[in-house]
């Protein structure tokens, strides 16, 4: 079964003015720090992280042997278009505009992009903070600008939610990070429109190591949306991001990702949020494409009545492995968490759910709800579920439901009898499976997701 990928399978000539070359040594780190004019503390942070990276083993013992295919010496760790962040649409290079066009981003949404930060390769090529947001005191900049211009906030939280040594790839990211967003929302400010960042990789053998840090101060609210597609190349591409979220007392922070990596990308991402008292951190995570994705967004519920939520959809195409899930760490009384995970496996695709729920003995009245549903398209498709739920103490409750279903031949025949092609029937069926989750997404993302599923299903039958 051949999975045709129509999206992302294109590339434009590269015009990188800075290139750290292939492979990773201390010299590479210094090169990156020089180019980015890092403050000393950042240079030191990177060098320490590099040592941690070298000392950490690959997490192959519990994931996939496929990780061994990554050859760190063949990867480029820094590339820059050599351009400063731009604020006007007119200044955006034509290449980039063509890419948006090719991705089928609707005219209206392209206009909306005037208010987003878009990252191309490792630098923000285009960045335009929506005026209204700036007027509210919200800081929305690239991570490089964040650490230079707002060190008093940046340093306080950077690397605190996800320590450098959390895993080998968070260490790698900490050593070579570039790009990503830094957002600070002042107390009580409710950001009405979601902030968006589009980015994509456009260089062969080039790993993208963006670093995002978002802080919602007391009582504030923010929705952040991240979407990405990558062009297809013959050799493996590594994407290893770190995203840290902090929701202070009473804040609400929602982070949405819809991604569609090409089938050769290793997507190894660490995402975690801390929710303080009465605060809420919600991850909405859609993983489509890639060769191997390992991603388990987590929430540490640190304050009383904090809430954590992960809604995730994973679509594993033929030959792809989506190893995704969620981590919920309850660290205060009356905290609640909710995990809803849906996965679809096509052809020889494999979807793995890993969930960690931790409620220690001394806590009272904590609740977790976990639901994971898997849909198998073909007899060769595979799904595994590994829930790790540790609940101790009294008055804490956990609920766990899991289901595996298959698109039945009778269902497809029924839909075909109504005039739908096999591919249309399949994509309708898959869209139906994820529908109750997708309904919770912002409109433009649910439309985009539906389109991505259709494209994926078109290639899966025939």
């Amino acid at each position: 079964m051949e999975v045709e990928r129509n999206v992302g399978n294109f590339a434009y000539p590269e015009t990188h003015t800075h290139d750290a070359g292939v492979g990773l040594t201390e010299k590479t780190i210094h090169y990156i720090s020089d180019i980015k004019e890092d403050p000393d503390w950042v240079r030191e942070f990177r060098l320490n992280a590099y040592k941690t990276f070298l000392s950490k083993p690959m997490p192959t013992h519990w994931a996939s042997k496929d990780l061994e295919a990554i050859v760190f010496d063949n990867i480029r760790y820094y590339l820059s278009a050599g351009t400063q962040p731009k604020r006007n649409w007119e200044d955006v290079p034509d290449d980039v505009k063509r890419t948006f066009e090719r991705l089928g981003i609707p005219e209206q949404e392209r206009k909306f992009l005037a208010g987003v930060e878009a990252q191309f390769d490792s630098e923000a090529v285009y960045s335009n903070i929506k005026k209204a947001v700036g007027e509210q005191g919200v800081i929305f900049v690239g991570s490089a600008e964040g650490l230079k211009n707002h060190p008093e906030i940046f340093r306080k939280w950077f690397g605190k939610v996800i320590p450098v040594g959390d895993n080998k790839f968070s260490a790698l990211n900490s050593a070579v990070f570039s790009g990503g967003s830094f957002i600070y929302v002042p107390p009580g400010v409710k950001v009405k429109h979601p902030l968006q960042a589009y980015f994509r990789i456009n260089a062969e053998n080039f790993g993208q190591f963006e670093r995002t840090l978002i802080i919602c101060d007391e009582g504030s609210e923010l929705t952040y949306m991240e979407g990405c597609t990558a062009p297809k190349f013959n050799t493996a591409t590594l994407h290893s991001a770190v995203v840290e979220l902090v929701a202070l007392k009473g804040a609400k922070l929602q982070y949405i990702t819809v991604q569609n990596w090409s089938a050769n990308v290793f997507n190894l991402v660490t995402k975690r949020g801390i929710a303080h008292e009465d605060a809420e951190v919600k991850w909405i995570d859609c993983n489509i494409g890639s060769r191997l994705t390992m991603k388990y967004p987590g929430v540490i519920m640190k304050g009383r009545r904090a809430r954590g939520e992960v809604l995730s959809i994973a679509l594993a195409g033929d030959g792809q492995h989506q190893d995704t899930g969620a981590k919920m760490v309850h660290a205060a009384d009356e905290t609640t968490s909710n995990i809803i995970s849906k996965s679809i496996s096509i052809g020889q695709g494999r979807a793995t759910y890993r969930g960690l729920v931790h409620i220690p003995k001394h806590l009272k009245n904590c609740k977790n709800n976990t639901e994971c549903d898997a849909l198998l398209i073909n007899a060769t498709s595979r799904t595994d579920t590994y829930p790790a739920i540790t609940v101790r103490g009294t008055g804490n409750s956990v609920q766990h439901e899991a289901s595996v279903s298959q698109v039945s031949a009778e269902q497809i025949f029924y839909m075909q009898q109504r005039g739908l092609t096999e591919a249309q029937a399949m994509s309708l069926s898959v869209n139906g499976f994820v529908n109750d989750l997708v309904r919770q997404f912002p409109m433009e993302y649910s439309v985009e997701l539906k389109r991505l599923i259709e494209l994926e299903m078109e290639g899966s039958v025939g």
Binding site: F413, M415, Q417, R418, L420, E422, L428, G432
Partner: protein, 257 residues
């Protein structure tokens, strides 16, 4: 030309032959009924006409308005005007009736032409009123958690929306109480007309009190053994299918559904 014409059809599933040389023609403008005992192959015939992949046609032909449809995929047959109301319609979780029917109607439009949403809903509501269906049905997932009666009503709603040239109704009366039966029959009767041929498959005569056929055929052991007018249905109701036992003996081994 203007007919659904089946000649010398033979169909097997695995080693088992279920339809054994069946011939039948349903011209446009007529309603034909096939009656027969359980296991006579009635439902198989319905599925074979629609192109179900489990069955193998070993010989014979099926022409729709003169065109052989046996080589066509199920969706192509459907788009060319063949409709099957299923005995056991599938559930499609998460897909609403409104979206499902919209996709089905859209699939019949020429490429590049978009269905006008307001026209579509106007028509949908009109047909739902005809079938006494609540508007809330449009936002329910197709057949999910439906009662037997609701499923059958939903089949007839789709029939009404898709306006096929030929409709095959497979045991549409099963699982219906008398009130629901009347509503469904009313829906089917409203679809009768010179542009459409209808084939009603049923075990019981009851449905034919409300959808009065022009012709009745008796199917036993994968063949049509007798054809007649609507009065034949009454005769079957009275005498049952026992009188066709000798046919069964001739046919040899028993057939399956």
């Amino acid at each position: 030309m203007n007919r659904l014409s089946i000649s010398n059809l033979r169909v097997s599933i695995g080693e088992q032959e279920i339809i054994r040389g069946l011939s039948l023609a349903v011209p446009k403008g007529e309603v034909h009924a096939i009656m027969g005992p359980n296991g006579s192959g009635k439902s198989t015939l319905a599925k074979v006409l629609a192109g179900h992949p489990d069955y193998k046609v070993t010989s014979g032909e099926v022409l729709m308005d003169g065109e052989d449809i046996l080589a066509l995929a199920p969706d192509e047959r459907a788009r060319r005007g063949l409709f099957l109301a299923f005995q056991y319609p599938s559930e499609i979780p998460g897909v609403t009736i409104a979206n499902f029917l919209r996709a089905a109607v859209q699939a019949r439009l020429p490429e590049g032409e978009e269905l006008e949403a307001t026209d579509y809903y106007a028509r949908l509501y009109e047909k739902m009123d005809l079938l006494e269906m609540d508007r809330s049905f449009t936002s329910r997932s197709v057949n999910e958690g439906f009662s037997g009666g609701e499923k059958k009503r939903n089949e007839i709603l789709q029939l009404a929306m898709l306006e096929p040239k030929y409709a095959v109704l497979d045991e549409t009366d099963s699982g219906l109480d008398i009130d629901a039966l009347k509503v469904v029959a009313h829906g089917v009767n409203s679809m009768r007309g010179p542009g459409r041929g209808i084939l009603v498959i049923t075990h019981y005569q009851r449905l034919l009190d409300y959808i009065v056929p022009d012709h009745v055929h008796v199917m036993v052991q994968g063949r049509i053994v007798r054809s007649g007018g609507k009065e034949l249905a009454l005769e079957l109701e009275e005498k049952g299918y026992e009188s066709y036992d000798e046919v069964k003996d001739e046919a040899g081994q028993p057939a399956m559904a």
